[in-house]
């Protein structure tokens, strides 16, 4: 399932294919299924008990680009969503619904000066070559505002590792689908597949406002940096160290009691778990926490190297651990004593 999910295209605001796949997979397993005007998909599971409302989210969008213009010669100009422009040169991409192949080109190194090679190329000076020789030819295949995704296949390698694009956040989507199919929910739970997280937690905010849950859990991917950064904990997480939890991310605090209880529960149930060693990144907890009179919220994340690039890498152990801990919350929330 993860393989299929990561191969689908779902740039922020173009999540339809991913949402359609998810809908067809879960529709027979939900007590109710709805969507809103932004296309967030809400799947309701009745719980064994009443009295509390729980909400899980996983965002369906991935980072990518939008076509910002077509040059007279038929090259595409683009604008990225959430990507470090230094990784872009030489990449292969697919453009639009038809998956038109393209490459992010650059003039040959032989033709550069020493000064040029020292500086990073700015995105506004980059272009995508789809093999068209004129503007008219390119306009038959795409248009301004069209989406562009990385060309990167799902690959299992090394010792239990997976490489794919969009592990952020198809790992969350896959986990949530599995929960819907297999978990025996303690309380009424909304499992929401959200949109546009990468441009600013947009769908998540809207969904939380509609549901106003008592408890909110975001299922996410988080960063795992290079080995040399391990010295001062700047690697943030370790691959294989288990599902990652954090008290604090980029500028906001999760509910401390909830996070503490989750760490304890993971220990008791022998679920591999780690605490992020660096406050970084954002997730839907930030958006959901301040709706209504306030929501008790935290995030569970799968550590990933090379986040927001075509070759994001994760360890299957961590992915499995996230599912197990999420299932604990879904099935035994009251035992955590946080509500």
């Amino acid at each position: 399932m993860l393989k299929e999910l990561t191969s689908l295209s779902g740039i922020s605001s173009y999540e339809n294919d991913v949402l359609d796949y998810i809908y067809s997979t879960v529709k027979d397993h939900c007590d109710r299924i709805e969507h809103d005007s932004t296309d967030n998909l809400y799947c309701f599971k009745k719980g064994r008990k009443t009295g509390k409302t729980v909400m899980f989210t996983a965002h369906t969008d991935e980072v990518g680009f939008l076509v910002s213009g077509i040059t007279d010669e038929g090259y595409l100009k683009f604008s990225s969503i959430g990507i470090d422009s230094r990784i872009l040169l030489g990449l292969r991409v697919f453009v639009g619904k038809n998956r038109t192949p393209g490459v992010i080109g650059i003039k040959a190194v032989h033709l550069t000066t020493a000064d040029e090679r020292k500086k990073a190329v700015e995105e506004k000076n980059m272009y995508i070559d789809i093999g068209a020789s004129s503007k008219e030819e390119a306009e038959k295949l795409t248009e301004k505002g069209d989406f562009i995704v990385f060309d990167s296949d799902y690959t299992e390698f090394g010792d239990g590792k997976v490489k794919a694009k969009a592990l952020d956040d198809r790992v969350g989507c896959a986990t949530l689908i599995k929960l819907i199919k297999e978990a025996n929910f303690e309380y009424d739970t909304w499992c929401v597949f959200t949109v546009q997280e990468e441009v600013g937690l947009r769908g998540g905010r809207i969904a939380a406002k509609r549901i106003l849950p008592d408890l909110f859990i975001a299922l996410e991917a988080t960063t795992c940096s290079y080995i040399p950064d391990m010295e001062k904990g700047k690697n943030v997480t370790n691959l294989g160290g288990g599902v990652a939890l954090s008290y604090m991310d980029g500028g906001f605090m999760a509910d401390r009691k909830l996070v503490g209880a989750l760490i304890e529960r993971a220990k008791e149930r022998n679920i591999l778990c780690q605490l992020k060693s660096y406050a970084s990144g954002g997730n839907e907890v930030r958006a959901a926490q301040t709706v209504g009179r306030g929501v008790i919220a935290a995030a569970l994340s799968v550590p990933c190297r090379y986040l927001h690039s075509p070759l994001t890498v994760m360890d299957k152990k961590d992915y499995e651990a996230m599912y197990l801990l999420a299932k604990e919350v879904a099935e035994n929330l009251s035992a955590l004593e946080v509500l």
């Binding site: 922020s12 605001s13 932004t38 939008l66 076509v67 213009g69 505002g145 441009v199 406002k209």
Partner: protein
């Protein structure tokens, strides 16, 4: 052009819109019904279709214009100031201002004469902290008439440049309000299946507060936002500016609802209205960004009028662009929400 001039003559600075909201409400009353100023300061008016359970369309354009505010008294009849919204400090030296205190007080933002400036100073950009307003009054008289926090508008003229271009301060975003009112004029006799609420929202330039509040209260089914975007200038980046006279700029990107935006574009094409497109991958820098996530999520469409020299007293737009933006909005609404031809 007369309507635009009238709209620009209203003083409503960011955070101090209450000085002009009643005047705007009176203008609204010529086009709309149930006009009011809501408790937070948004000016609103309705065009109702009279049908039960009709969907609601919100037409938003921000009311406030940028300005200045008295920060402290600097002695000798001088006053230091801060900005309300993003003023380009480079255009401030040698501007005339009006400080709105107990009475309106005229002042000038002077500049040190070149004779006494060093070579280095001449090359440096203007710093806001170094600028002062000269009221020409004695300190006592000055303190009688104005106080810390008195809002200040920069004096401007409004006039035509050539045959089609209109120039003066405040076109950001009176051009937007004008567009909506002209659209309403064209919709008055249409047979619609939706109610329309025009909102002149406050505080856009200082944090987009008014639109957030209005959208939460109204919870519309669709929001059409009109603001301004950067017009073409010789020193501008062509990929980031729109051409004056080539029609409204329709915005594309995650902030805007794709289905409605593509219907808008089709409508413009069917009506032979020339338009341009802009792409924004994130925050469009307009009320649309906040309206989209207000209430339980509101589909948005954004149209921008190309404008040169934004946030100066010489903002310039093409009147033809405003007219075609208005027509585009009217035809789009007729297209989507029923409505036969004008009676």
């Amino acid at each position: 052009m007369e309507l635009l001039k009238e709209l620009c003559s209203i003083t409503a600075l960011s955070g101090f819109e209450h000085t002009g909201s009643e005047s705007l409400k009176d203008i609204f009353a010529r086009y709309l019904t149930d006009c009011s100023v809501d408790p937070s300061g948004n000016v609103m008016g309705y065009l109702r279709c009279g049908k039960k359970d009709a969907p609601l369309i919100m037409l938003d354009a921000h009311l406030d214009t940028i300005g200045l505010i008295v920060r402290d008294f600097a002695g000798g009849g001088f006053v230091s100031f801060a900005t309300l919204g993003g003023f380009d400090p480079r255009v401030l030296p040698c501007q005339e201002v009006i400080i709105h205190g107990k009475e309106d007080v005229f002042g000038v933002i002077g500049a040190k004469p070149p004779h006494i400036l060093s070579k280095e100073e001449l090359k440096e950009g203007v710093k806001l902290d170094d600028l002062l307003i000269d009221t020409g009054l004695s300190d006592d008289r000055m303190r009688e008439l104005i106080k810390i926090g008195s809002p200040i508008s920069v004096k401007t003229k409004h006039s035509m440049l050539g045959e089609d271009k209109f120039c003066g301060g405040g076109l950001d975003n009176r051009a937007g309000i004008c567009t909506h009112l002209l659209a309403i004029e064209q919709l008055k006799s249409a047979n619609l299946n939706a109610d329309i609420c025009v909102v002149a929202s406050h505080s856009e330039e200082i944090g987009r507060f008014g639109a957030k509040i209005a959208a939460e209260r109204l919870s519309p089914d669709l929001a059409i936002i009109v603001d301004v975007t950067h017009g073409d200038t010789p020193d501008g980046d062509k990929s980031k500016t729109c051409v004056l006279g080539k029609g409204p700029a329709v915005c594309l990107g995650p902030n805007l609802n794709r289905k409605y935006t593509s219907v808008l574009r089709k409508t413009l094409e069917e009506n032979n209205i020339e338009y341009q497109t802009e792409l924004e991958t994130g925050d469009t820098g307009t009320n649309a960004w906040d309206i989209q996530v207000s209430s339980c999520g509101i589909p948005c469409v954004l149209i921008s009028v190309p404008l040169r020299y934004m946030h100066t007293t010489i903002e310039t737009v093409s009147l033809a662009d405003i007219k075609s933006s208005a027509k585009g909005i009217a035809e789009f609404i007729k297209n989507v929400f029923g409505g036969s031809a004008d009676a």
